[in-house]
């Protein structure tokens, strides 16, 4: 097989990439592969991502694309960070910024994390400790839908842990699921969530 890029030399490098669910095959010769390697990688630095996914109106927030200027001047009530400032620095000002700019940050974050949109993994211990005020726990674990999502994610991790015979980890996950589920016991709209132990 000849190299896809130069069409002259024999293709000796064969790569199969899975990107966004689509399969992409590449067949290149050593020379073209080296040239391609020296080009910028697909992992864009944050500032490039911001200019690509946030600056152009309509990309970040299609619903409000007719008022990009007012968005740029929206200011976080807690730290006074504006979107414009964030676009320049790539850094946010405080934890509250994530709530204030959640809508605009969403697409950028998904792109930066290769499609990852929701947190899966460790949760602060204090959210899981009993004896906490309900409001406090809800603030950390989200509303009932978010807690249900978390339980789904935990269940998936539990299955994986069992498949990999990581029983200690599985036990920890079961405990965490019980505690997340116990938040619902106060008669929240989602009703009770069962945990299979």
């Amino acid at each position: 097989m000849l190299c896809e890029s130069c069409g002259q030399r024999e293709a000796t490098i064969h790569e199969v990439l899975i990107k966004g669910g689509a399969k992409l095959e590449k067949h290149l010769c050593e020379v073209c592969a080296q040239t391609a390697a020296s080009e910028p990688s697909s992992n864009l630095p944050i500032n490039e991502l911001i200019s690509k996914y946030m600056v152009s109106p309509g990309v970040a927030t299609s619903a409000k694309s007719d008022e990009p200027e007012s968005q740029a001047t929206t200011v976080c009530p807690s730290c006074a960070m504006s979107l414009r400032e964030f676009r320049q620095s790539g850094l946010l000002g405080c934890p509250v910024c994530y709530t204030v700019f959640e809508e605009q940050l969403g697409p950028l974050i998904e792109r930066a994390h290769e499609g990852g949109a929701c947190h899966v993994g460790k949760t602060p211990r204090r959210a899981l400790d009993s004896g906490r005020e309900k409001g406090d726990v809800q603030r950390l674990l989200g509303d009932s839908k978010e807690r249900a999502d978390r339980l789904g994610a935990l269940r998936k991790q539990l299955t994986e842990a069992v498949e990999r015979e990581q029983y200690e980890r599985a036990a920890q996950l079961r405990d965490e699921m019980r505690r997340v589920a116990s938040v619902e016991e106060g008669g929240d709209e989602a009703g009770s969530v069962e945990v299979d132990a």
Partner: protein, 367 residues
């Protein structure tokens, strides 16, 4: 160097060349980013905020819970805004603080060396380090020789819990642990593995491996992280994304799927060199040792390249009278600040080159 502090003139435990796959994997590291609820990030922190955060975090890292969870004998705290450049540089070279933390500046250029910030270092192993007031308020790191990501995750998880006992972390139901830069949110965890890949470099296959790793959303960097080159054929491979995958899934992917493939690839390249180009590789590795044992002037980059080839020679059995850990240690001790630290004074570039060659000759039994 202030009295009572370790001399920093010895090798580091994570460079000892022990543990799983240590012929290829020099060390493994896990680092998590955390910020406190109720305080602005560094970008918007006032002088008062920084002092308060520093005070809160220092108290936690000096607590018994932290010491127990870290499994260290003692914890040394360094106020980085009060120590000189040389001492900060030594900490950078030992991978205990980032270059950014040494300078006290954010990526935006804001800040400066006098910004209140510090680092806690677990002694004597230096396996645990906690940076306070870097880009995020807390950056906790654990590091070990060889491939050991699962153990590191377990340890860093315990340390994180111990710190959290007295701190309120900023957390969001959708975005997880919140960080100043949105690229670190979610778990806030980065695993990295430092690989010694002289075989792939010599067979010209390194670019292919780098590309393959980058296509799998991994970052490939040099010995000193972002923006540094691969001195001594050392490459750091780390996860690029922190949102949407649990810590355990990340470890599994890296430790059981991706890194073993790179290790196999490197071992294959080394075998090929030995079987098909034996005379060339025998010459290259022994010649490197010869230069190291006789040179009168040595620069850092040249030393690193020669040490890399000497290490390869030892691993291939072509060099028998030098221990691997001696070469590993030298990779750290030849660095600029370490040279000056050993001499206990600032050295000019020429003086450093002379001192470096002298140290290397002495350690490797040269003339």
């Amino acid at each position: 160097m202030s009295a009572g502090r370790p001399g920093w003139t010895g090798g580091a435990e994570w460079l000892r060349g022990e543990g799983e796959a240590s012929d290829v994997v020099m060390s493994s590291r896990a680092r998590i980013a955390r910020n406190l609820a109720g305080y602005p990030f560094m970008t918007k922190a006032t002088g008062e905020d920084r002092v308060q955060v520093l005070d809160l975090c220092r108290r936690r890292v000096l607590s018994d819970e932290f010491k127990r969870a870290s499994g260290v004998e003692s914890v040394m705290w360094v106020d980085l805004h009060e120590v000189d450049k040389l001492e900060r540089q030594v900490l950078v070279e030992r991978h205990l603080i980032s270059r950014q933390h040494s300078r006290g500046k954010l990526t935006t250029g804001a800040g400066g060396v006098d910004q209140p910030r510090g680092v806690a270092i677990g002694l004597p192993s230096e396996r645990v380090a906690v940076m306070v007031n870097e880009e995020d308020q807390l950056r906790i790191q654990v590091i070990r020789s060889g491939l050991a990501l699962s153990e590191l995750l377990e340890q860093i998880d315990q340390i994180d819990d111990a710190l959290e006992q007295g701190l309120d972390y900023a957390f969001h139901p959708r975005f997880g642990y919140l960080t100043a830069c949105p690229t670190n949110i979610g778990t806030g965890i980065r695993f990295s593995v430092m690989l010694h890949l002289p075989g792939l470099k010599l067979t010209g296959e390194i670019e292919r491996v780098k590309r393959a790793a980058e296509d799998m959303s991994l970052a490939v960097r040099g010995f000193y992280g972002e923006g540094s080159d691969a001195a001594g054929d050392l490459y750091q491979v780390s996860n690029q994304t922190t949102l949407g995958k649990s810590e355990h899934v990340l470890v599994h992917e890296l430790e059981r799927e991706i890194v073993p493939r790179i290790i196999d690839y490197e071992r294959h390249a080394r075998r090929t060199l030995l079987e098909k180009r034996r005379a060339m590789i025998d010459d290259k590795t022994n010649r490197a040792l010869g230069v190291l044992r006789t040179a009168r002037l040595l620069g850092v980059e040249e030393s690193m390249q020669l040490l890399s080839h000497a290490r390869l020679g030892i691993l291939l059995g072509l060099i028998e009278d030098v221990e691997q850990h001696t070469v590993n240690d030298l990779m750290l001790l030849v660095q600029q600040a370490h040279m000056q630290c050993a001499a206990a004074r600032e050295l000019s570039q020429q003086e450093r080159r002379i001192e470096r060659a002298t140290l290397v000759r002495k350690q490797l039994g040269g003339s």
